[in-house]
Symmetry: C2
Subunit: 201 residues, 2 copies
């Protein structure tokens, strides 16, 4: 029996995925979690063979949880499951030691198949997404540029961003300007949207 940990913050989707995996005779769900921090704690307690982690979770996302589980539970494989096929997410998932990266848009049968394949030592990644991640290259934004872009994504003024991040307005302007230039767009709203789509924020 392959022992699976399932981490997903939407209760109804988590219950549905557990039902789906429960239909497979060689898989058993040994633990469930609704946040990234809880996923690490449950993994330490239940020692699963495979941790199936949603990226978009509160209190430690799935990428952070992946690194934590890889460190705390030797031999546990990580399968990342996400709504968004963002190249930056895939890159960060691989860096965190994930063995598979699945998009929720895929067919349901892929899930159990991917769990079996990572236990057999394989990697499971969509080839088109892998190509996009390699061609997009690593995240060009510095941590400060990411903070400033994210803080301004809702249309906040320069003064608002400066106050919230405890920076001078001139410094905020400089970070925004370098971020816009690196992303290759015309303004900071476009830069925030483009960076989000790439999985860089």
């Amino acid at each position: 029996m392959i022992r699976v940990l399932l981490a997903e913050d939407q209760g109804m989707v988590r219950g549905a995925l557990a039902a789906l995996l429960g239909l497979e005779e060689d898989l058993t769900v040994v633990g469930e979690a609704g946040t990234g921090a809880e996923a690490v704690a449950v993994a330490v307690r239940t020692r699963p063979d495979v941790a199936l982690l949603d990226i978009e979770m509160p209190d430690g996302d799935g990428l952070t949880a992946a690194a934590g589980i890889r460190a705390a539970v030797p031999g546990c494989r990580v399968v990342i499951l996400t709504t968004f096929g963002r190249p930056g997410y895939l890159r960060r998932a691989m860096e965190a030691g994930a063995s598979a990266f699945l998009i929720k848009d895929g067919p349901a049968a892929e899930l159990a198949a991917a769990v079996r394949r990572v236990v057999a030592g394989e990697r499971v990644i969509d080839p088109a997404l892998a190509a996009a991640a390699l061609s997009a290259g690593p995240n060009p934004l510095s941590p400060r540029e990411r903070d400033v872009l994210a803080a301004g994504a809702d249309g906040s003024t320069i003064a608002d961003i400066a106050a919230r991040l405890h920076l001078s307005e001139g410094t905020v302007r400089n970070y925004l300007s370098s971020a816009i230039s690196k992303v290759g767009v015309r303004n900071r709203i476009e830069a925030a949207r483009a960076a989000e789509r790439q999985g860089w924020l």
Copy 2:
């Protein structure tokens, strides 16, 4: 047996929800769909007792599909399932004739329970969300204001929006200005975000 139609665009989530409903002895999934238009077509063909519709689908969202199914299949109850508990969505779902409105954050057991309750003629709505929808009132934005706000949400310039919607720049400015004033915020990016959160776009 209660005959259920299941419409959800994410294949893995759809398969998982079907597995979850399949565990119930009194429910049977008679059709599946991945878009709003497909949901209406499958409903006409399979005549379900209950249509379970995700809102966020391509090619006709779940709210549009709900109205279509209510018109085409008399007696079919509609359960709306969504990631976002937006007051405007709930209001539009009720206007489209939905009997239940569920958030994917809820426990998995709620899904089958809601299906049984709507077949018995009940309505199933989260009380806190219902109160929020009533206090927020109806959507204050005109269709043109919604178009212009949505077109500018990515940081597009006035000239871009005008070109895309075949309007003059002065007209775009007027619509943006009235929309910002109605939403009660400071700029058009904030207005687009706030309107999206309310389910008004």
